[in-house]
């Protein structure tokens, strides 16, 4: 049957071999090398940008008055959103006992970690005086001053740092048994030393497993609510503001949906080439892609509803400024952006109603890419157009990105790719022990 989550006849050993060998035996593919090269170059661009930024100031970007928030914030929201799918898959689905998650949670978590890490950089880069970012932390100092707790940016700081910590722990704890496996199978003393060091002396005793399971479950329990909380708080950065187009109660759920939408799109964009190049079709089956596509469709509809509601409430409120911004988005300077994002985020996903589309790898890949772009544009629309067209007509002025804006966006994508390519080379891209559980369960399935 074609809806299975594990194809072919795999045993514990073979599964372990297959995944471990991806790291230990398989030779570097030239495509991987090429990708790594490109990603590396973009990363250098990113670093160059940061150096120049710190040297002369945020003026190198297109930010201005009235539009004081630029790409940095857009990228921040975009990346943090991408992260969410990973946590959703690994934590939520674990708690919901969705066994199909076992084969995709590892790289999804990695995705989360890298995305959230990069997202975390943006707010700091955004600052006028980044070297003082730690003033957002409450710590005893000779100035006798504290953060200003009414500011959502402070909440943000805690939300993001919590999210990063928990994601890292969750991912690493999940890795420990596999690291041990690699340690045991690795040739060469250095590899064994390194994997061994990282495995923290895991010996796979029953006692280890018992504690491991508890810890893993607890972390899942901790991570699950973050899926909701983090992006809700991020959305408050805007909702708290009085700017027309920001000041809206719908933002938290709307942002969370958008995050999952974007995140699952990214999962597809990563999973599809990965299963292809690492020959993982048996583990990441059409069934997985199909499920992801369904979630994509569902969250996509939520997002569409969000768009609808934004416009509706604008007019329903009768607030002239809200109405003005709603109309300006459709007809004003940024109208092309608006209609593109509507097309990409609302129209395109509808294709996923068709089973054939959901099972066509190429289609899913394309949809994934488009939705990611669309969601970036959505964040751009929210952040920039609102500011460019607020209360006093005399202050209206559009935001026009500079070369540095684009370069650093591309650079951050490169950094993400760099991390991910390194990850698939150095660590098991799929969770070995969880795949073995899967094998076990499949067996039981047959017996029954």
């Amino acid at each position: 049957m074609s809806s299975e989550v594990l194809r072919g006849r795999w045993g514990y050993a073979s599964v372990t071999d297959k995944i471990a060998d991806l790291v230990l035996r398989r030779r570097t593919h030239w495509l991987w090398a090429l990708g790594f090269g490109i990603a590396g170059t973009l990363t250098l661009v990113f670093l160059g940008g940061i150096v120049w930024l710190f040297a002369v100031g945020v003026g190198i970007w297109g930010v201005n008055i009235p539009v004081a928030w630029g790409f940095a914030i857009v990228n921040f929201v975009w990346w943090i959103g991408i992260g969410h799918a990973g946590t959703f898959i690994s934590a939520f689905l674990l708690l919901l006992r969705q066994k199909w998650r076992n084969s995709i949670n590892r790289f999804a978590e990695a995705m989360t970690l890298f995305a959230a890490g990069i997202a975390g950089m943006w707010p700091i880069l955004h600052l006028g005086r980044p070297w003082f970012f730690y003033w957002l932390v409450p710590y005893p100092d000779v100035m006798n001053v504290w953060p200003q707790w009414r500011s959502p940016l402070v909440w943000d700081f805690f939300a993001i740092s919590t999210y990063l910590t928990v994601s890292l722990l969750f991912w690493y704890v999940g890795l420990i048994p596999d690291l041990a496996t690699l340690r045991d199978r690795a040739h060469g003393v250095w590899r064994r030393m390194i994997y061994g060091f990282l495995a923290l002396g895991w010996r796979g005793e029953a006692r280890h497993w018992a504690r491991f399971e508890t810890a893993y479950l607890l972390l899942a329990g901790l991570a699950a609510p973050l899926v909701i909380s983090v992006h809700s708080i991020v959305s408050l950065d805007f909702a708290i503001g009085n700017t027309p187009g920001y000041h809206s109660t719908i933002f938290p759920p709307y942002f969370v949906a958008g995050a999952l939408f974007c995140g699952f799109a990214m999962v597809l964009v990563i999973a599809i080439p990965m299963r292809r190049f690492l020959r993982l079709e048996d583990f990441i089956t059409i069934r997985h892609l199909d499920n992801a596509a369904k979630i994509l469709l569902a969250t996509g509809l939520l997002v569409a509803y969000g768009y609808g509601m934004e416009v509706f409430t604008a007019f329903y409120s009768g607030d002239e400024y809200e109405i003005a911004i709603a109309l300006d988005r459709m007809k004003g300077f940024y109208a092309p952006v608006y209609w593109t994002l509507i097309c990409l985020n609302v129209v395109v996903p509808q294709i996923l109603w068709w089973r054939r589309a959901r099972r066509s790898v190429a289609t899913l890949f394309a949809v994934g890419i488009l939705v990611n772009i669309g969601m970036w544009l959505e964040r751009f629309m929210i952040v920039e157009s609102s500011l460019a067209h607020d209360f006093l007509p005399s202050a209206w002025r559009p935001f026009i990105p500079t070369g540095w804006d684009w370069a650093m966006l591309a650079g951050s994508v490169g950094l993400f790719a760099l991390f991910f390519l390194a990850f698939v080379r150095l660590l098991p891209a799929l969770s070995i022990f969880e795949m073995r559980e899967l094998v076990e369960e499949e067996k039981e399935g047959e017996v029954a």
Binding site: G128, Q148, G241, T243
Partner: protein, 904 residues
């Protein structure tokens, strides 16, 4: 009090000490304290004020200049001076930057090679000795309008020694037409002093008495005094270019220059009883004027030909204006500039000029294009130019002599009404300049010091001198107005067809002399909000006729001379006319002013100084222009409110819609002062004086054209311009100091907080630059240092900036704080005397500068205070009141007083 100028060495010591005191700058100074060698009477850190005056085109505005430890840092108007009454314009405010400008000339040069003053003096002696035989024939001195009795006396002295010597005068923005017009009407040249406070009805014909020219600051004050609804006058403006005066008019008609002359004739006819004319507004205006005999005034602009001025004098006589709304004074100059420069050029070309001394000015750049002045200048063997900058003329002269700034020299000046005042130095010449008096003294081998020369010329000594020096005016020195009878003069205007090019001074760089001044370059022009550029202004209709949009290049050619300029569309500009602001496209105006904009002087011939028929063609390409405001429509949001006189008198409330009263935020407890500001839109003429005053007071940096075009200019108080139904409203927007300030709630580090007196303070040293506060500010009054602007080019050196205000570094937000340093100064004084701060102890920089006193500031907690009273006016309203931010800064609505007869 009077003062002896600090010597250069003292100054350097002070500068060192000052930076060691670290009272001003963000950059860490050396950890050193440098005391004086000889003790000074005044303790450091206490600001002193000295009276002086700044002269433009021979007419001066009296000033009080603030000196911090011997360093002039800020300029205020002199309340005792008739041309100021305590106010100043943008030029006076910006002249403090001119004083400190590092790009000012520092070296005396002979043909480009550094030389000494002695060498120059020797050369003069040789030359004069050679000319002695033909008692000075061939010796020429070129000046601008001379407002200084001292210089006049010196020139007379030189003329006595060298009888055959000839004096010439050239002012690019000369007043030949009006002076010649007076001669036609009265048989002698006179200056007019207008008294707007006495005028019920004013008709300004292509004139801008509120925006430029001698006495405009005083005019603005008097005009504003007649805009209060209770005693409201009426202003008609007939003009080509949307000037400041036009923007304040109750009735305004935009006409091409030729049509304006027809209109003038029409008005004259109507006043003489003719009852029918097709020209718009003429009959209404005429009846209005006649109905207010003795309280009416007609003003002719400089662009009108002499005969037109004569006719206007006749009109005023008929309306009983002389002695009431206008008085006639001895003229600033006895010669026609155009004639004078013409003879000089011709004589130079003919080799009749052996030696030429140019005192100030820049004729090589701004002389009439048909004389090729600099070409002729090359034929003069001995020529010397005394100027602040090494400019075009310096390059064309044999000798360049760095000139002392007016804040560095002893001199005297004449107010627009003829009152004399003393110019005293605030500091020894920073860059070793010499004053025009010292330069002139070289020719009369005069040994007396400039100070003695001034005392001699003004016939003042002892107590009289000290009093005059302290007050800044020489008591009762104003000449008695002349009683003159105007005669009839025939005037037949030539009616032009096709395009007309009109020349006018630029609102910021004037005739070009202020091109090196970064503050002025970056000052949004009142009409267009353009900065760092001039543009060929056209009406929307003309623009579509030419097929141009903003920035598109056009070519304007007059008699074969061509100028390429970017077009800029102005609603309210006359059709068929192109206004070309002068003063741009300079070659040698320092790093700031060189190669900026286009030079319109080449089109300006001596015979047609103000407007000339031209041909216009659309050129390929465009130039990016930087405007600080892109949107002048109010979008029905009514940020700047207007009301009719009837409503204003009947106490109608300007604020409509019900006010929000509830707030989720608890009210702030106030134990002492509650600072507040009210801005009267009915008085504001949009002259930008407040913007520059604020810039000088608060060490606000300039950002340059590119940054400005990105919307990053740093002005703490901007003047918004709104155009609605032909009317123009100016709205100064400083920080609103909201009670429930949106910015405060969102700053993560508490860098913007409410203080115990209700000021929303910005703590630069705490700011990390999230810029959330700016996003959340509905008024967009917050300014961000995207780069390290305060270290940029064209800024004052740290010694010249206000030591009481932190200079901001890169990455921090800043904004208006009601001149906290001035409040603090007053508070400390009051606290030391165990009393409350009294009304008037605190005057903000913008309030002090404002020519029309549109800005009221004070303690709202005291119901008797001026600001509290103003705020009670029914005209009062709050900007974006529906947001319930509860601003401390509020506005008074503009009142329109149209003539019911005039129709819509």
């Amino acid at each position: 009090m009077s003062t002896t100028p600090v010597t250069r060495r003292d100054f350097l010591k002070l500068a060192g000490a000052a930076s060691a005191l670290a009272t001003g700058a963000c950059t860490a100074p050396p950890d050193e304290i440098v005391p004086y060698v000889k003790p000074r009477a005044i303790a450091d850190g206490i600001a002193q004020f000295y009276a002086t005056a700044m002269t433009m085109q021979g007419r001066a505005v009296g000033l009080l200049v603030q000196s911090d430890m011997g360093r002039p840092t800020k300029i205020e108007g002199n309340p005792a001076h008739p041309s100021s009454l305590g106010s100043t314009g943008a030029f006076e405010q910006a002249s403090i930057l001119e004083l400190w400008d590092p790009a000012r000339s520092r070296t005396l040069r002979h043909r480009g090679v550094p030389a000494t003053r002695e060498a120059l003096a020797a050369e003069w002696r040789r030359t004069l000795a050679a000319l002695e035989a033909r008692d000075g024939e061939g010796l020429r001195i070129l000046t601008g309008y001379v407002g200084s009795a001292t210089l006049r006396a010196q020139l007379a002295g030189i003329a006595k020694k060298h009888p055959a010597m000839r004096l010439h005068e050239w002012e690019p923005l000369h007043r030949d037409n009006s002076l010649e017009g007076a001669r036609l009407a009265f048989g002698r040249r006179v200056d007019c002093a207008y008294r707007f406070e006495a005028a019920d009805v004013v008709v300004a014909i292509d004139a801008d008495p509120l925006g430029a020219g001698p006495g405009w600051v005083r005019h603005a004050r008097d005009f504003a005094s007649r805009r209060a609804p209770q005693s409201m006058g009426r202003l008609y403006a007939i003009e080509t270019f949307p000037s400041i005066t036009g923007s304040m008019a109750d009735h305004r008609v935009a006409l091409a220059p030729a049509a304006i002359r027809q209109w003038l004739l029409g008005l004259d006819a109507a006043l003489r009883g003719e009852t029918s004319t097709a020209l718009p507004l003429v009959m209404a205006a005429a009846r209005d004027l006649l109905a207010h005999r003795g309280r009416a005034l007609v003003i002719a602009g400089e662009s009108l030909p002499p005969a037109a001025h004569a006719i206007v004098h006749r009109m005023n006589a008929r309306l009983g204006a002389p002695g009431n709304t206008v008085s006639y004074l001895p003229p600033v100059s006895g010669v026609a500039c155009a004639e004078s420069i013409k003879t000089l050029s011709e004589d130079m070309r003919a080799g009749r000029v052996r030696a030429l001394l140019v005192l100030g000015g820049n004729p090589a750049y701004d002389a009439p294009s048909d004389y090729d002045f600099s070409g002729a200048l090359a034929k003069v063997p001995m020529s010397a130019h005394v100027s602040l900058y090494e400019d075009e003329t310096s390059a064309a002269c044999a000798w360049h002599v760095p000139r002392a700034h007016y804040l560095e020299e002893w001199s005297d000046a004449t107010a627009h009404d003829g009152t004399a005042s003393i110019v005293q130095p605030l500091v020894a010449p920073l860059y070793g300049g010499i004053s025009v008096h010292e330069a002139a003294a070289m020719l009369e081998d005069e040994s007396a010091s400039p100070r003695e020369l001034v005392m001699r010329a003004l016939r003042l000594e002892g107590d009289a001198w000290r009093t005059a020096l302290r007050d800044g005016v020489v008591a009762s020195s104003a000449p008695t107005p002349l009683a003159l009878a105007a005669r009839d003069v025939a005037f037949t205007p030539v009616d032009a067809s096709g395009w007309t090019a009109a020349f006018r001074p630029d609102a910021a760089v004037h005739g070009g002399e202020f091109a090196p001044n970064a503050w002025l370059q970056e000052l949004p022009r009142p009409e267009s909000k353009l900065v760092w550029d001039n543009a060929a202004y056209v009406s929307p209709a003309s623009a579509s006729q030419l097929g141009v949009k903003n920035g598109d290049l056009i070519e304007v050619s007059v008699a074969g001379r061509k100028v390429r300029a970017p077009a800029w569309i102005l609603t309210g500009h006359a059709d068929g006319t192109i206004t070309l602001p002068l003063g741009y496209g300079r070659e040698r105006a320092g790093p700031v002013g060189s190669h900026v904009g286009f030079d319109a002087y080449p089109l300006r011939a001596a015979a047609t100084p103000w407007d000339v028929a031209c041909t216009v063609t659309r050129e390929g390409g465009a130039r990016a222009l930087a405007a600080t405001q892109l949107h002048t429509s109010m979008e029905g949001r009514d940020p700047a409110k207007r009301m009719t006189l009837a409503d204003a008198l009947s106490g109608h409330a300007a604020a409509h819609g019900e006010k929000p009263t509830e707030s989720l935020y608890p009210a702030w407890p106030y134990e002492s002062y509650r600072w507040a500001m009210a801005i009267d839109l009915n008085a504001c003429i949009g002259c930008n004086a407040c913007t520059v005053a604020c810039q000088a007071e608060n060490n606000i940096p300039t950002v340059g054209k590119e940054e400005a075009s990105r919307g990053r200019s740093m002005h703490w108080i901007r003047v918004d311009r709104y155009e609605e139904g032909g009317a123009v409203l100016h709205q100064p927007v400083p920080c609103m100091q909201c009670e429930d300030a949106p910015c405060e709630a969102v700053c993560p580090v508490g860098a913007t907080v409410h203080d115990s007196e209700g000021i929303n303070v910005q703590v630069y040293n705490r700011c990390v630059g999230t810029r959330f506060c700016s996003n959340n500010c509905p008024y967009k009054v917050r300014r961000f240092n995207f780069f390290h602007y305060s270290a940029g080019p064209g800024e004052r050196p740290v010694e010249g900036s206000n030591p009481q205000v932190t200079t901001r570094m890169r990455g921090v937000m800043e904004k208006c704080n009601y001149c906290l340093q001035r409040i603090t100064r007053a508070r400390l004084q009051a606290d030391k005397e165990d009393r409350r701060i009294a009304e008037g102890d605190v005057v903000t920089a913008c309030q002090a500068a404002c020519p029309t006193k549109a800005i009221t500031f004070g303690d709202m907690a005291d119901p008797a205070s001026a600001v509290a009273q103003v705020k009670r006016s029914p005209r009062g309203y709050t900007l974006l009141e529906e947001l319930n931010t509860r601003p401390r800064t509020t506005y008074l609505a503009r009142v329109a007083n149209p003539n019911p007869e005039a129709g819509p």
